[in-house]
Symmetry: C2
Subunit: 707 residues, 2 copies
Amino acid sequence: MSKAADDGGVPGGRGEPAQQLGGEAAGGKLASKLSASSFTPGWTKVSCPCCASERVEPLVLVKLGQKAVPETKRWLIKLIGAPQKDGGAGLLAHPGEDATGNIIVLSAPRCTLLRATEELGLCKIYHTGEMEAFAYNDRDNFRNSDNMEVFLTSAERQYIIKYELDGLRAQKDLRIPGLPDSCTLQKRDNIWQKLGQVGVVVDTFPLHNPDKLKDLSESWYSGNQLSQPLDKVNEYFGSSVAFYFSFLDFYTWSLLPPAILGLFIAYFSSRFGDEIYFTDYKNIWYPLISGHMFQAVFSMLWSTVVIELWKRRSSTLSYQWGTLNLAERFAEPRPGFHGDLGVNPVTGRVEPLFPEWKRDLRMALVSVPVVGLFLGLVVLGMMCFYWAEARVKWLHKDWDSMISQTFLYVPSVLHIVYTNMLATVYRTVATSLTEYENHREESAYDNHLTGKILVFTFFNNFAVLFHIAFFKQDVPLLRKRLASLLIITQLVNQVTEVVIPFLVDRFISAPNRSEREDDPKEDKFRNQGTLPTFPGLFAEYIELLVQFGYLSLFSCVFPLTAVLLLLNNLTEIRSDAYKICKLFRKPFYPPVASMGVWKVAFEVLSFVSVVSNCWLLLLSPRLQKTSQEAGMSGSHLLVGAVMVEHVLILVKVIMAALIPDEPDWIRKKREHIEYTSMQALRQQVSQGKISKAVCGKTKYTLGLHNK
Amino acid sequence: MSKAADDGGVPGGRGEPAQQLGGEAAGGKLASKLSASSFTPGWTKVSCPCCASERVEPLVLVKLGQKAVPETKRWLIKLIGAPQKDGGAGLLAHPGEDATGNIIVLSAPRCTLLRATEELGLCKIYHTGEMEAFAYNDRDNFRNSDNMEVFLTSAERQYIIKYELDGLRAQKDLRIPGLPDSCTLQKRDNIWQKLGQVGVVVDTFPLHNPDKLKDLSESWYSGNQLSQPLDKVNEYFGSSVAFYFSFLDFYTWSLLPPAILGLFIAYFSSRFGDEIYFTDYKNIWYPLISGHMFQAVFSMLWSTVVIELWKRRSSTLSYQWGTLNLAERFAEPRPGFHGDLGVNPVTGRVEPLFPEWKRDLRMALVSVPVVGLFLGLVVLGMMCFYWAEARVKWLHKDWDSMISQTFLYVPSVLHIVYTNMLATVYRTVATSLTEYENHREESAYDNHLTGKILVFTFFNNFAVLFHIAFFKQDVPLLRKRLASLLIITQLVNQVTEVVIPFLVDRFISAPNRSEREDDPKEDKFRNQGTLPTFPGLFAEYIELLVQFGYLSLFSCVFPLTAVLLLLNNLTEIRSDAYKICKLFRKPFYPPVASMGVWKVAFEVLSFVSVVSNCWLLLLSPRLQKTSQEAGMSGSHLLVGAVMVEHVLILVKVIMAALIPDEPDWIRKKREHIEYTSMQALRQQVSQGKISKAVCGKTKYTLGLHNK
């Protein structure tokens, strides 16, 4: 252990020396030996108490702020390298060129990776070839468990580093070395969060692996391939991203049937008029079976089948990617979670607790009313817009001057400005609300935040269309609006999402970066920091959801919807892939077992679509005329439509209940895992080992105190 | 081991002698020592290889048929007493007065009971006071595990005996001693099923415990108590019966709010006419809020709240009764299950397997169409009835003679006969269909059978009412019909269910039984066999479901429904309790975790009620008149009703989603169990014990062959 490290303020040297790279390299003398060119194939020979590894892969870059003096940096490296039982993160840290630089490059030793794999509840391939929940004690029976770069995906290795950093908590009150006295950590404070708040750490992001990235992009979007390399995407970006692309892929291909039907109907409509008459004689039922009706019923059933099949596909993917059995509930709470310290009744560990009923109360009494208020503001804005538009038109008719003509655009402009401002405010409010709800798990937090923004965005997008369909009851206007929305929004999306970032990257950022082959590794890492942060999958998912909404809610008024969407999505797959690979930093994503709240959103939409389609069919002028000719009153028609709607909803519910959400073989695997753990419990309780097991890791018992 | 037992044909004596009571008592000489008076407090001192017990409680009576010669009986007693690893049932058997009598009295030793407790997945109180899944290896840490009469409920002990008997399978081909050569058992044949088929065993039923029964009935229905002793019911009759009575209790008390509301509305209706006018001035909305409307909306929301609260209550009861964690999926398949022998991928045991898709196919292609056909026959019958009635009336108007007047009753009589015949045929068909579907678990079989009969019975009960409400649209007729149904069916039910059995029991059966205090125990046991078999809970549940249907589907036409039902149920609780205690044999019921398919039926009904109530409100003549006065067209009214319906369904769905199905503390307990077993798995895999554990008990490896 070098002297400098000891001076850094970490007490260290308690029992076994921290033989991590961080510990060794923290000193100025040693650091000079590790020139940047030694980043790969290996930093130095690393050995930790439980495993030895010949090669260190740089995984994550930490960028320090102005406030981080060398003393702070040395303390930080020491902390990161210290074993978990001493309150450290058990990772490998490299200080970059020297101890005064503003980056730290992180990697993880095998034992930390394996322990975290167990903690996260990831499944890996057992020696029998089956997926089994990974157990550290049984590590030698898992395939490839000696080679971390094969055993864990690159996304998992990087996420584990983030997981360990986020899990760092102060063992007791301490001052951060090199910072003013006001920057102290209370016992059990989250260290990484605090460091970010005081400006010591300004950025933590995973590093790209240029070779792998090149390989991935070649098989993903460079050629003319039709299928996506989803397993590779999962390997490189993690299951969250891979689930998005899998769904995009699945959804795009499932657009084929409605697209073909739409083309067929559009062709016949243009030749024979709006309705397909099967016979000439005046039988009342035949003309009722118009092309649009057929399409409406088809799309209502289609949406259920697609969603049910996706659930099956999703659980298969989740099994393949080892995320079927995630144990987030049993892991440490997320960094932002707070509450009174107590014993968790499930895991038996001491951690902050927050009663469920309090959260429910906060949701019911605060979140729901606030979200409702914002939805009300959207409606209010829309009503003001219609009112103002009517006033302005009336004014223009009276005046008919240049000024009044300009006024004609004022309501639209004001409405757009209002809507955008509202959306921005809402986003902030939604984040605070979700923070206030104080969810224990990261995934619950994400789902609640996503859910809130989702409802609002959806409402914002569809309020006008619903208004036209249900209040104005103006089908031609709806058709015009839908067509323009479909074409314009898609063009705008493609431009804002890909073309602009591409141009910015090529002509503004890239010249400043000017990367050369012989640049030191470290500079290349640093360069990745200049790329913008990946904006997240929310925008991508909401785009799909809005598409799906256009298609399922209003498809019957514009039969070519599916065709347009299919064409759009085929390019979307490529542009999204290009975007995530080239235009942004690599994002951190936790392993997930499904699309989460998005699945629910698509499901809800598919039920709403029945109501909307039945209503639109009822408005169809041709149907109204035909039924009048046949002597049916409006009420009879309405009763008929309501009956059709109820039957269709019933059929959808039954279909959704009958199609199992997971394939049979996955169910058996899952039950097998349940059975084995039940058996293990029965076998073991007698040996009195459970009490120990329940207490789990004693991460925080030994203090890492500050001199 | 007595000689007679050896002659009995069981090979026995392989290694350790079967020291069960059965083994000892099978011989004629020994049996004579065990006079009937020695049944209690103990048969003989019993000791089995793993436990010793001073006292044997007679639990189950097996009645043998004419075919069972003494040789067969000795073989059977030997088989029942043989240890499980030798293919026996591991039970205690007492031959009654002597080896030639036609009864066998069964009990179970501690180790068999405890092993079965683990196999069934029952939870028991751990030494910490918490409920934990019972593990045989850890038995000493469970409270009262040395005293079976406290540790297990009497229903559980008796069910375990049935479970072990049902699990008896031939180890290899063998001939049943004393029977003709044609009666042979193939390897893996279910022995108990076969013995029933060939007429050796004609009856197997659990024995009443007169003291406990007296105690139970005193606290249940003899006094004026308002609450039922549900825990005692669970102790004596098992959780299936206890769940029924808990639900009856819960449902009866939850009738209070609608009953009070109904009384209130009936009172005001009689004083102020059908509608409550809040003001005098002609505002259109006030008169719309009529009492009936309020009641309809109230009852729609009430039904959801009741069902959601019942789910919570149900999971609490399930936790208290230790059935939260039943392991039926992992146990042996039910006796009737057949399929090709193979390795169960979940448990790793060799057993018959039957692919899921084949079952699904059978359900989709056979069961569903056949059930649909029968429902069609119900409708057909109803249509024929209406047609015939119209014809007969028309005929009577023309003729107006005595003969034609008699004819007036013919359609009704024919319809009743037709309906009853159809129901009988359907019951047989439903049983065969469910048998054909080949379910692996007893509970799945029960649920599918119950579901089928349920749909039919419900359809049979409500088809006429729906026809009146939706096609004839005749609210007064509906009201008349509903009132008469409510009163008549309840009277009929009470009479057929209680009064007739009571009279039969008191005046026909009892004099024949003429039990005296000094009768030998054995005769008292035998006497229980003369009581009729308990007809099952289906009729009880369907009665509640039909009640609930009247209340939630059509309540708004007859406000006093809830009052009538409340009065009925308060007597129903007592009469049902009396019935199950006194008029029938004690039934076998497996431990269950909930009401099963009945919960779903109540839930579905609660959603259908929204549709039906909204429609009935629309038909309300007062509403139609008011809206006409206000200048609303029929279509507008219809659109309004549809909107109200959709909003109510949405509210119900959201309410059902928001109210958690289990209380928070139960969820935590459940997650704690999951967590402990996950930890156990992780701790243990390393020790290579799972492979052994997975193979489970090797019940069938050693043969019990016939000489």
